[in-house]
Symmetry: C2
């Protein structure tokens, strides 16, 4: 039985993968294509927003001082000087004691510094408006530049663009943005017993599941996955396949037979490339101990356990935090049962979430770690830290949604 | 000022939109393309998983009874009968008192009903194995069909496929699935003051933001958006544009100038189509009162407020729950400040989330509802219900992530 050379705590593994993770290139995209992409550079506002003083109500634009002292019993009498139309600059210039009709979103005319809501006014004939309530200067108005000032940094590099961010960019007339290109991730399954998913397994054979789960997980995290044919457990075959995948990708994910011997071959192959450095070999967690990382020049190779449940779990624990471009979800849930764990090892346990009246409740899915069904039933997983011997029913836990 | 004909509580609006929402068609896709799609029909397992009794450890396969009574001081002596190779059916048939080497994932040979971990054994020469611990029948074995039985429903219709679900399908040899086609959503912006985002606004004009935010939100929710050119506030122009969009889509989203007059024209246009029925006109929330829904035959039209912040918020409140194919996020956070609200109206308030040691803290983003910047800063929003006059600092609130 082979030895784990460099077993680390999973936080260390996560940090090391982050530290040596390849840097993405960048590209310029139109706004519609930029959804869920990550800004490669900060964005500065090219102009003031709004670009003019804008009414936030339907009513009358006026000089605020003209309304001072008015009340229900003693309205201010203003002369109506016409109206502001949507989408047009008014040629009006109001004097004290004058007003004009203004719709929500309309541009304040010269001489006006506030708007009074139509509800607090009354028309008297064609040219007089009664105002029953005083307004302060700039009341019911969004001032030029109040939302955003020209040259202000509105979004930092590294921000993932959501619909509302795309809206903010559009509102400033920014229709193309420099964003990170997705990292190219090559996915290789190894193992003499592994057959393609569409094939009929003979006795002792299992279908290639990791190619599908890992590619889907990479895509969900914002990466660009490429699948390669299944590789036999043989040094020279593996070396050639890895060489090609390294050339065509930024990162490669290998998932191998779960026995230690195959891990050893994988490790030997990876370390045979120039510029290769072992980051770790073995992570002190359950499930998923046989996990390794090697940095190869600017690129990176991760070896994951062969079993699909462990492979996907370890992908989530060590690779996803570095790759994903959307923020990890946060779910705070109450644990429904006691959970025992062995101290000195981090446990990751799949859970089902249920929304109850008092809040969200998490129920662990226990069973043999090999069950595929459990992973598909799970809404997420919880983590029992290294130093704990378990968790108690009723305790609040952080659930990492899948 | 126009009248709201049928003002409803937002839950009612959400329910009515759900009830009259168009039904998606379905299509058959390969697994890789099916990520985040929704199953149109239930999936049954075509076979047992695993397909054979499989060892879950590296060790020796044996008849469990041969190990009974063994201990550290009194090991059982078994005859070694060779080994099982990965991916091969063993031709061995073990007798009582015999064992063979088996790797993790290997197929149990005939006559064996358990496996003992290599750690609890010792080799004595070429043909004897000492077993230091008894195993129970089926210990360290995953039995045929233990994970999934043939013809068992493994996923219900309506399930959104995540990476692990795709993995489970692959493990059963299911490489194509019948999924819902994305609903086609036409997006129309109306308003004389609205100009395309790439244009330079003159005084009083604003750029078309809703086309971008709504299309991105629809895409994020799993729909297939199409944008149409900006429409002037004119009955016959609007009627023609709406007619075309209704023909080409399942749902149309109109966002108009926020003044009530424009809403009235929109409503008149929508109700002029054969089979049109008003669901509601006005929702008792802030921001976003001027929101309407009309069902037109099998299709649906939603009128949203013109202001981008209100439009996106109302999209999230009434349309997204019916459209989205991924589960809404759950965030339980502690409110950092007191929040006042007017009873008799549902308030939706954008918040920023921060992870603190004690948990997640939500800070409301207050300010004029028109600020674009706020929406882009927000991580989500909270809801102050109808009957409440506010929320207190320290209270736990449900945050709807954007």
């Amino acid at each position: 039985m082979g030895e784990f050379l460099k077993v680390v705590h999973f936080r260390q593994a996560e940090e090391q993968v982050k530290q040596f993770f390849p840097s993405p290139r960048s590209e310029k995209l139109g706004l519609s294509a930029a959804l869920h992409r990550v800004l490669a550079v900060p964005v500065l506002s090219p102009e003031d927003l709004p670009f003019f003083h804008r009414s936030t109500v339907d009513g009358y634009a006026l000089d605020a001082a003209s309304s001072y002292g008015s009340s229900e019993s003693m309205p201010a009498y203003l002369s109506l000087r016409g109206e502001v139309k949507m989408g047009e600059a008014s040629r009006l210039a109001l004097q004290k004691g004058e007003c004009c009709w203004i719709p929500t979103g309309g541009m304040l005319p010269a001489g006006a510094d506030a708007a009074v809501m139509v509800e607090y006014t009354e028309r008297l004939g064609d040219d007089t408006v009664l105002v029953y309530r005083p307004v302060a200067p700039w009341e019911n108005v969004m001032q030029r530049g109040e939302d955003i000032r020209k040259d202000q940094v509105i979004m930092p590099a590294g921000k993932t663009l959501r619909p509302q961010d795309i809206g903010l960019l559009a509102s400033l007339g920014i229709t193309r943005v420099q964003v990170q290109s997705p990292l190219r991730v090559g996915i290789l399954s190894t193992g003499d017993e592994i057959i393609p998913a569409e094939a009929e397994p003979g006795p002792g054979q299992v279908r290639d599941v990791n190619s599908f789960t890992l590619a889907a997980a990479v895509r969900a995290d914002g990466g660009s996955p490429t699948n390669y044919p299944i590789i036999a457990d043989d040094f020279s075959v593996l070396k050639e396949a890895v060489g090609q995948a390294l050339e065509e990708n930024d990162i490669i994910l290998l998932s191998g037979g779960s026995s230690v011997g195959i891990m050893d071959v994988t490790l030997d192959v990876l370390l045979s490339f120039p510029g290769a450095g072992l980051l770790f070999h073995g992570v002190a967690v359950k499930p998923g101990k046989p996990t390794l990382a090697v940095s190869i020049g600017e690129k990176m190779a991760l070896g994951l356990p062969g079993h699909p449940v462990s492979a996907l779990m370890m992908y989530h624990v060590i690779c996803s935090p570095a790759l994903r471009t959307t923020r990890a979800g946060w779910v705070h849930a109450q644990l429904q049962v006691n959970l025992a764990s062995q101290a000195g090892r981090d446990d990751f346990i799949p859970v089902v979430l249920k929304e109850e009246e008092e809040g969200i409740v998490a129920t662990p899915l226990l069973g043999k770690s090999g069950l595929m069904r459990i992973l598909s039933m799970a809404d997420g997983y919880i983590h029992i830290p290294y130093e704990k011997q378990g968790l108690e029913a009723g305790q609040y836990v952080q659930v990492h949604p899948f």
